[in-house]
Amino acid sequence: MFKSLNPLLHSELRLAVVSILVGVESADFVFLREQTGASAGNLSVQIDKLQKAGYITVEKGFKGKMPCTTCRITEQGIAAFEEYVESLKSYIGVR
């Protein structure tokens, strides 16, 4: 029986952002933009969606004099990511 894939994570850019945040403690907006190669506007929209779903937290602050947006994954985000990976495994037959 195939498990359904979380539609919020089953999109290239949002999945990339969550995958990065799962492996790090925190990452700023520039880091995410450079790692994903996405445009600032698109990334900003997707980060907002992930934040509204409670998967990540977003903290706006300053690094020196430069504004800096730092993202972190939440417990809920980790659980959703794990469930998503489990669902993927059921599709490709990995136990």
């Binding site: 999109s11 290239e12 990339a16 995958s19 990065i20 790090v24 403690e25 790692q35 994903t36 690094k63």
Partner: protein, 199 residues
């Protein structure tokens, strides 16, 4: 990267790529702290060797204090610059920082113990730095760093051995041995780490 739907294989491949790429990026410059401490220790040691060898004024022996002072100063500059450039922080950063903070603080106690109990200071410095390097190597799973730390710990025994079996050996040779150990323990692993994770 766009907001496209993917098939299952593409999703898994993307997850794996993103995790590996960000881990690789955050590991950049991870050898630099070893290079800072290693090079400062080697250069100051060589300077102090010549102070003794050429019978220069004894006040220059205070140059040993350049190791902690210059080390902390350069580390602060490096950390600030690195944090700004990397844009991210992973769990290993926190673990490695914690290891070295504990070793740094413990070193003050060891230094006092060395003075009170007359323990050779070079032995304690090499032993503690070797332990820190070995633990760091184990945490980051880097064999050369592990071996550097292990060799440091092992060769630290040279100093009490010299005190015991060759008490008349000129102290300048101890200093050169100290420099050579730091070269193997920190400078070489530092360069290899930086090379491994360079772009």
């Amino acid at each position: 990267m766009e907001n496209l739907k993917m098939n299952e294989a593409q999703s898994l491949s993307l997850i794996s790529q993103m995790i590996n790429d960000s881990r690789h990026r955050l590991a950049r410059n991870s050898g630099t702290p070893f290079l800072i401490w290693g090079y400062i220790a080697v250069l100051v040691s060589i300077f102090e060797f010549f102070v003794l060898y050429c019978n220069l004024p004894k006040i220059l022996l205070f140059g040993w204090f350049a190791i902690p002072i210059l080390g902390w100063l350069l580390m602060m500059i490096f950390c600030r610059k690195n944090d700004r450039e990397r844009g991210g922080r992973n769990y290993l950063d926190r673990v490695v920082s914690a290891i070295w903070i504990v070793f740094g603080v413990s070193f003050v106690w060891l230094y006092l113990a060395a003075l009170v109990y007359q323990i050779p200071l070079l032995f304690l410095v090499v032993l503690t730095m070797g332990m820190g390097t070995l633990i760091t190597g184990l945490v980051i799973s880097h064999k050369v760093t592990m071996w550097g730390g292990f060799i440091g710990m092992l060769t630290s025994l040279i100093f009490p051995a010299i005190d015991k079996f060759m008490p008349d050996l000129w102290f300048g040779w101890d200093i050169l041995i100290f420099a050579a150990i730091f070269l193997v323990m920190m400078v070489i692993p530092g360069h290899i780490l930086n090379h491994k994770f360079s772009e």
